[in-house]
């Protein structure tokens, strides 16, 4: 794949093919499906953060005339702890089941205990009050550092910290300890002229998708069970749900509705197996839709974290040693993204001496789920703040300090391999030359800068490109379209087939219409599903050549295909794609190409963000006055949707840095489970988000694509945090920089 590729269709700002439906309200999302005879399911949730369940009495609810079925954990198949191939990675299926409906303990306020299906949504909600639960209250564990103490109450009697040479004898809330290192940090720090060491805290924050979790399901004894749900990965919903319920994969069809945001939070299951139980027991289709409070208290937010970062530099700016420590809250069950945090923390830097230690810790809060570059924002925030402080102490431009130590092709990573070609240096240079950076900081404002790194993944995508007799085609793929990916699939197929994109219709097939496809997440879709689309389209071209060759009595090698036309190189004949397709029934049957791949070679995406803020010193309110997001996309298939990822990630990170946090009371109850007080950024909070898309192609993708979806949320925490500190001349150590915290910093400085 050459770097200076000329493209006919790639790189244009096409209108997305699903756009008409989305701007007219026709597109159907998770809560939009109604079936004949459908009833409504609602969930009873724990009022306590930590308690043993002594008994659950559903008899009064079951006796109510409007109630048609009731579900508890007893209705799930008893499982041994095992891995299921969910998009979350190796998940303990038993933990998943216990999170969907509590087993013998409730582990967080809002933990689902039972569910009722009734003739109306109101009747179902009202009947929840008829379920009687007896609890034995236990002291809640609500803070990661408290949870790690020797004398802390323990959530799981069978949790013994993994990652020590000897298995501990005492149960703990620390699920896992990981340590990664290279070189010798002690020697490195000894060489340093300046060392900065800081501690940081980041809050529990939610992915904040506007669409609550929703599903409509039918259970059919004959094996035609169906789940319609909003999800990032319907094949993984099928896998996990089937395991929880002991169903065969082939008997469960999952249809991905359009999805109203996920960001990683919709790669797991909550209501689906519960709704199927309710449907099975009532004989009716069941719809379950969470309300906003349920989304906040009972669906995975991301981990709150306690972090430490220590970096040493020589006077000339060479970084000699980098050391990190982190403890991540996993919520009620183990599995925070601590490991990726450890792996990414210092990866933007080429330093031979690095040591990072991390802890995955359970607490009585809802189980965390993936959130855009899971684990990386917290860890890289700590690193970037310290690097910025070092730049200040050195009197060195923060971009120059990063350029001097920038990770590039051949840099050894802490997690093992050396990096292949990456675009951090190009991003740093683009940042330096950007209009934003070149402009003077307005009087009284603060400026911050930060870099970010995320691996991106490949994985399995299955695609079929089916040509119609009129030369138009359908691209059948399995990646729910969260951000406009259909447009990119259309363009990539068009580029291979050399016909106008509008002649190709991408559809997202259900689990019965395609082989397994991994979910939309991990910045994989344009890369991996795109690769499959390209391969499937190339097979169509190969068939077209064969059919034309057969008609002209030549070999397929004697047919060339360009600009949508097949030409006989041994003669004068030519046929358009449409003509070949029209003749398909005469030349052997319909033309279709498919590719079921396990894509490898995902290229990491680096980013650099610049943020200016103005702080009102009387109220502590922070305004972002200017923001630039620079990121390496490899090759931007649809520039508009790539920019959208950069901007969307930036604004989620801005929210996380400035306002978003779960506020818990002493009983472990979230006091702000609504958009009024869990304050995500509004249109009135922000300026335009300037973007610069850098393109350092990824050699493993035919068009050079790197995933871009996730990295963009990483730099804002450091860029905004440092900008605020810069504006008020204080050290920011705790996020978010909400007005009370900023005021406290100003006043106690």
């Amino acid at each position: 794949m050459s770097e200076a590729q000329e493209f006919k269709y790639i790189g244009q700002r096409t209108i997305r093919p699903d756009g008409f439906d989305k701007v007219t309200g026709r597109a159907t999302y998770g809560a939009d499906l109604t079936l004949p005879g459908m009833i409504w399911g609602k969930t009873l949730r724990s009022p306590h953060a930590h308690a043993k369940i002594l008994s659950i009495d559903t008899s009064k609810a079951e006796a109510h005339p409007d109630v048609m079925s009731v579900a508890t954990f007893k209705d799930f198949v008893t499982l041994q702890s095992e891995s299921a191939a969910g998009t979350e990675g190796a998940a303990s299926v038993l933990d998943v089941a216990r999170n969907c409906l509590a087993d013998d303990k409730v582990l967080y306020h809002g933990h689902a205990i039972a569910a009722i299906a009734a003739r109306s949504e109101r009747a179902a909600k009202d009947a929840l009050g008829l379920i009687e639960v007896k609890y034995e209250l236990l002291p809640p564990v609500l803070d990661v550092e408290d949870a790690m103490k020797e004398d802390s109450p323990v959530l799981h009697d069978d949790m013994f910290t993994a990652g020590y040479d000897e298995k501990p004898s005492k149960a703990s809330n620390i699920a896992t300890r990981v340590e990664m290192k290279m070189g010798d940090v002690e020697a490195g720090f000894a060489e340093a002229d300046i060392i900065v060491e800081r501690e940081f805290r980041t809050p529990t924050a939610h992915q904040g998708y506007i669409e609550p979790h929703a599903c409509t399901v039918t259970y059919d004894e004959n094996g035609q069970s169906m789940v319609w749900c909003c999800t990032q990965g319907h094949f993984d919903v099928r896998t996990l749900t089937a395991k929880v319920l002991g169903m065969e994969l082939g008997k469960l069809k999952v249809i991905a509705s359009e999805i109203g945001g996920g960001f990683g939070g919709k790669t797991v299951i909550y209501q689906e197996p519960v709704a199927l139980v309710l449907s099975k027991k009532s004989g009716r289709p069941v719809k379950m839709v969470m309300d906003r409070e349920e989304v906040f208290i009972a669906t995975g937010p991301t981990s709150a974290a306690k972090l430490k970062a220590k970096v040493g530099v020589k006077k000339d700016g060479t970084i000699t040693a980098m050391q990190g420590w982190m403890a991540y809250e996993a919520g009620a069950f183990k599995g925070s993204p601590m490991v990726p945090g450890v792996m990414t923390m210092f990866t933007p830097y080429d330093c031979p001496n690095v040591l990072v230690e991390g802890f995955d810790v359970v607490v009585n809060k809802s189980k965390v789920a993936a959130y855009r570059a899971p684990g990386a924002p917290q860890a890289e925030y700590a690193a970037e703040m310290v690097v910025n402080e070092l730049a200040e102490k050195l009197g060195m431009d923060p971009i120059d300090l990063r350029l001097k130590n920038a990770a590039k092709e051949g840099t050894q990573t802490i997690y093992g391999p050396k990096l292949k070609r990456v675009g951090l240096v190009e991003c740093l240079e683009a940042a330096k030359n950007s209009p934003h950076y070149q402009s003077a900081l307005p009087e009284g404002q603060g400026r911050g800068l930060a870099s970010g790194f995320w691996f991106n993944i490949g994985g399995q995508s299955s695609v079929s490109v089916n040509m119609n007799p009129d030369g138009t085609g359908t691209i059948v793929e399995g990646s729910p379209d969260i951000g406009g990916s259909r447009a990119s699939m259309q363009m990539m197929a068009a580029e291979v087939l050399q016909i106008e994109p509008k002649n190709l219709k991408p559809i997202i097939a259900d689990t019965e219409n395609l082989p397994y496809s991994q979910g939309t997440g991990g910045s994989r879709t344009t890369f991996a599903t795109g690769m499959a689309v390209i391969e499937a389209s190339e097979k169509v071209v190969a068939q077209v050549k064969e059919r034309a060759a057969a008609v002209w009595n030549v070999t397929a090698e004697q047919v060339e295909y360009a600009d949508g036309v097949a030409r006989n190189t041994a003669g004068e004949d030519s046929m358009t794609l449409a003509e070949v397709c029209k003749n398909a029934e005469k030349t052997g049957g319909q033309i279709s190409g498919n590719a079921n791949i396990n894509a490898r070679g995902a290229g990491p995406s680096f980013a650099v963000h610049i943020c200016d803020v103005a702080v009102d010193k009387e109220t502590g309110k922070v305004d972002v006055t200017r923001y630039t997001a620079i990121q390496d996309a490899g090759k931007a298939i649809h520039p508009g949707y790539v920019e959208g990822q950069l901007q969307g990630g930036a604004v989620q990170g801005i929210g996380w840095a400035l306002n978003e946090e779960y506020i818990f009371n002493a009983d472990g109850v979230m006091e702000n489970p609504g958009f009024l007080d869990y304050r995500i950024p509004l249109a009135s909070d922000l300026p335009m988000i300037e973007t610069i898309t850098v393109e350092v192609p990824n050699a493993f993708h035919p068009y050079g694509v790197r995933g871009v979806g996730e990295t963009g949320i990483i730099p804002p925490l450091g860029a905004v945090g440092y900008a605020v500190g810069n504006a008020i001349d204080r050290k920011v150590e705790e996020l978010p920089c909400s007005p009370p915290r900023v005021l406290a910093l100003i006043q106690n400085g």
């Binding site: 990652g163 290279m182 790669t267 391999p417 995902a602």
Partner: protein, 80 residues
């Protein structure tokens, strides 16, 4: 013979930083090193991703390595 380089985590189980392997296919490499180092569990290694000469591969089961390849075991990253 390809080189398998052990992460600091795996070094705790192998006592060594790296080793050379005869096997040319990932699944056979796993068999070889889990036989060589008793503390390495075959099934746990099979669940890991691998980087071969810097290219990260999630499910490397049949991946071939060259005689000059460098192999690293990695945690599987899923993303969000």
């Amino acid at each position: 013979m390809a080189i398998v380089i052990f992460s600091s985590e795996l070094q705790k189980l192998t006592g060594e930083e790296q080793t050379r392997v005869d096997a040319e296919v990932f699944k056979d490499i796993v068999t070889e090193i889990s036989n060589q180092y008793s503390a390495l569990e075959h099934d746990e290694l099979m669940k890991m991703a691998v980087a071969i000469d810097g290219e990260i591969i999630h499910t490397p089961f049949l991946e071939k390595v060259a005689a000059t390849s460098e192999v690293h075991f990695l945690y599987r990253i899923s993303g969000g």
